[in-house]
């Protein structure tokens, strides 16, 4: 059997049938070694008879050795490895949920590697062959370890995505401040995806509360550039199309400067520095007046 | 990579074909699980493009497909006519939004309503417009 030097990525060593048979016949020894190492590395000296862990590991070994025999152990992307890749990805996700860190799951595979090496070392006398077979197994298992990290990260990404959605929901509350007036304090950056959510929420609330005026407060929006301004203008336009009016409040001096420097035209939009003055304007527009009780003089808002 | 789960084709010859076509698009959009807003955007875009097909393309046909790509599901529409073609696609796609004028073809606005917008046209040969709206797009 020729051993190819690792010059080209496409030329891989094909594991010998004898080695594969050896692994198959000593599967249980490998499993036992592995389980021992697992309990040692996690610092728990309990007898590893926890059936969950044992079954998981057993299934993995069986699938792994099966894959090796049937895929020719050549191309890691070959379908022969699909099943075992699925198994290890599943194990990684499940372990992640059970509270194992990615390192612990990585170590899980490293101890498996060690177990195989020990068994090979016992049985293979040809040191060149031992080296080649070990290298091959190493290559395969290292790739699988990367898969476990990727699976773990993807799990995290899913959590982040879900939380982002939740945050969007929470951070655009529409508040009815008076009969016919709703207020929407926008907190955080206003990108195009968020604008859609804001518009939907706002317009639905306007219909539900039968409001004629919506106050958009942007004091919680860190930066207003042309894009953000465009989103605000769109929101105002949509509100008007439905027959309500929109006042934008919370305009900080920096924003006023930026808007002018960028040449953004806000002349069609009613803008106020504070929510309070926006509310005052809204009252005026609805021809409402706020008066102190029992007092002759009128106090407006 | 886009996988087609379901598809059908409708000929668009006269104005009466528009409404049934729109309703069919709605069926696909609902089946894809789109929100009301996204359904509205898709059907409105489809309405614009199908009217263009009739008005400028002299009629043609539309392919409606339920598609998936990775984790996304959506609807793909392909509008094909053998009309005169569009002379200057870049000009047609130029954004007239800021001037407030409604463009003859309404293409830039339509593009904003969907996630993928592709247009191929050859003078004297015809025009093909393909759009995709993802469920969460």
């Amino acid at each position: 059997m020729r051993i190819f030097a690792r010059q080209k990525l496409t030329q891989y060593f094909i594991m010998q049938n004898s080695t594969l048979n050896l692994l198959k016949s000593r599967q249980n020894d490998i499993l036992k070694l592995w389980l021992d190492k697992q309990s040692f590395s996690t610092g728990s000296f309990e007898n590893f008879s926890d059936s969950n862990e044992e079954n998981e590991s057993r299934e993995f070994i069986e699938t792994f050795i099966h894959s090796l025999s049937h895929s020719g152990a050549a191309d890691l992307n070959s379908p022969g490895f699909d099943k075992v890749n699925d198994v290890i990805t599943g194990i990684s996700i499940s372990r992640g949920k059970r509270g194992y860190s990615p390192r612990e799951t990585g170590v899980y595979l490293f101890t498996f590697k060690e177990s195989i090496f020990e068994v090979l070392n016992e049985s293979l006398t040809d040191s060149d062959l031992l080296y080649a077979e070990s290298q091959e197994i190493s290559r395969i298992l290292d790739n699988m370890t990367i898969l476990t990290f990727e699976a773990f990260m993807k799990g995290r990404e899913d959590v982040i995505l879900r939380q982002t959605d939740e945050i969007s929901e929470i951070s655009t509350p529409v508040i009815k401040v008076w009969d016919g007036i709703v207020a929407l304090p926008i907190i955080g950056t206003l990108d195009s995806a968020r604008t859609q959510v804001v518009m939907e929420n706002l317009l639905l609330q306007i219909v539900e509360t039968e409001s004629s005026i919506a106050i958009l407060d942007i004091s919680g929006v860190p930066a207003v550039d042309s894009l953000v301004a465009q989103h605000l203008i769109k929101t105002v336009s949509a509100t008007r199309l439905m027959g309500a009016e929109c006042i934008i409040s919370g305009i900080r001096p920096e924003i006023a400067q930026t808007v002018v420097h960028l040449g953004i035209d806000l002349s069609n939009i009613i803008t106020k520095a504070t929510l309070a003055s926006a509310l005052q304007t809204a009252f005026l527009m609805l021809q409402l007046e706020v008066r102190k009780k029992g007092n002759i003089s009128n106090i407006h808002g | 990579m886009i996988i087609v789960a379901n598809k059908e084709e409708m000929p668009i010859i006269r104005e009466q074909d528009v409404i049934p076509f729109r309703n069919r698009v709605k069926d696909y959009a609902v089946k894809a699980g789109m929100s009301i807003l996204n359904q509205t955007k898709l059907i409105t875009a489809a309405s614009e493009l199908v009217r263009n097909l009739l008005k400028y393309g002299g009629g043609g046909r539309v392919k409606i497909e339920a598609v998936t790509s990775g984790r996304e599901v959506g609807v793909r529409l392909t509008f094909e006519d053998k009309g005169p073609g569009i002379k200057d696609i870049d000009l047609a796609m130029r954004d007239g939004y800021s001037t407030g004028r409604s463009m003859g073809l309404g293409l830039p606005g339509t593009k904003r309503l969907v996630n993928v917008f592709d247009i191929k046209s050859e003078l004297g040969m015809g025009t093909t417009v393909t759009i995709i709206k993802w469920k969460n797009g």
Partner: protein, 132 residues
Amino acid sequence: MDKIPILKMGDFLLITIQVDLYDQLAENLESDLVNAVNKFKSKGVLIDISAVSIIDSFMGRILGNIAIMSKIMDAQTVVVGMQPAVAITLVELGLPLNGVISALNVEKGMELLRKKIYNGYNPEQDYDHSSE
């Protein structure tokens, strides 16, 4: 032939659009409306689009036409009940719907018409809710 019914409510006309407008229907609507405004000397037109789920440029043009035609005949037009999804889509599409005034529902639409017609009419302030 299909026709969209036009209701007379005092000085106003109310049209409720509940079906998809195709060419012939839209043309009929335009001419029926103009004739009705003329016949009843109506001062205002309310178009209820709360049942309309898609407004494309064609429909937008019809609404705009009706507004302009009515204005020429000295009647104010108000469009009421636009669905939120439609409003958002129209803005994204870039359809300005110039000359079209909106109100949230028929009630508010009539209020608006009354203010404009009887309390002094200012053509510059289309979206102004206070006429004082």
